[in-house]
Symmetry: C2
Subunit: 198 residues, 2 copies
């Protein structure tokens, strides 16, 4: 083992905390003092562990994707035998769950970042990272509908890309009305209507 003093905080836990602070307050709405007091460490420790504010934000984005984004996507592909509409419904409801979780900042960190991405105060690497994430998400959803269509389980005449865009629109909308205070029950009603399209 390397010599020297040990880390006096849990790096993963600190990253989770930072993610929530950024999620709640945005990039330019979050100060280093907010971060250090939320993480319970001081600035030199934060900089030694994560680089700087911009790099910490990018790592928080990655953490959010692996912790909240990707796990829910599995609802789409898991039950291959059930109707398409049920898979989409399960996916949307799973997303609605954590978007309205009272222990979380509300909505979706990706959507928050997308909204802030055109601000001049947002560093370009963060914008690029967010753009890539959104493009990949749309591609994943498009691929899902393409496979469903090839399998003959897609009644709609719409193109897979169009269905993916509509689903993305629904997801983004849910994030914002959750941010505005909508409850899980509210989102349930929205989902019930939204899946009629499929």
């Amino acid at each position: 083992m390397a010599a020297g003093r040990k880390l006096q905080f849990d790096k993963d836990q600190a990253l989770d905390e930072a993610m929530q602070v950024f999620w709640a307050n945005g990039y330019s709405g979050t100060s280093l003092n907010q971060l250090t007091s939320a993480l319970g460490i001081n600035k030199p420790s934060l900089y030694a562990a994560f680089g700087n504010k911009e790099q910490l934000y990018c790592r928080a984005l990655e953490r959010y994707g692996s912790r909240y984004g990707e796990p829910r996507l599995q609802h789409l592909t898991k039950p291959d035998t059930s109707p398409l509409r049920e898979g989409v419904q399960a996916y949307l409801l799973a997303v609605a769950r954590f978007q309205t979780d009272p222990d979380l900042p509300g909505g979706c960190f990706f959507v928050q970042t997308t909204g802030e991405a055109r601000a001049s105060a947002m560093p370009h690497p963060v914008v690029d990272s967010m753009t890539t994430i959104n493009r990949q998400t749309l591609e994943k959803l498009t691929g899902f509908f393409e496979r469903e269509k090839a399998a003959g389980r897609l009644d709609s005449e719409s193109a897979p890309g169009t269905l993916a865009l509509y689903l993305m629109n629904t997801l983004f909308g849910m994030a914002m009305i959750a941010r505005n205070g909508a409850t899980f029950s509210d989102l349930e009603k929205v989902v019930a209507l939204a899946i009629q399209v499929f």
Copy 2:
């Protein structure tokens, strides 16, 4: 006429500029220097005309509502004889037009503000104002569906409040995917699917 030097800028025009700067960069992402250079005036003039940053933001919200929000709402009620679905379509497409206008910051200023409203850096009066606007919008949409239902032009079995929430969800979603770079053509496809619910 009152004595004293004349205003050397157009107040309405300056408010429009300020609205766009806030719309593009958010509350905490916008600095006074950005505002003064965009409006072409200096700080004392800005403060004499609009109070402070917080009050200017609230006036920008009002301006946005009267300039972009309310005019589009009339698409819902104007053609009382046409099918409900066509009215909703006309409304959504009119919204999609300015959300993707290349001369505007993209998306919806109200949605941007809603996303930032839970940030600790956001002044409470702004949050209250935004909360009221969103509540009133939902009430207007609910009232629309209630009247349509009373007139027997509503096929859906869903409650007016639920339909209003779904419409709001669609509007918020459109704002975010427009913010993410979606074109009017993209939003057209989303609208075509979204109105199938009605």
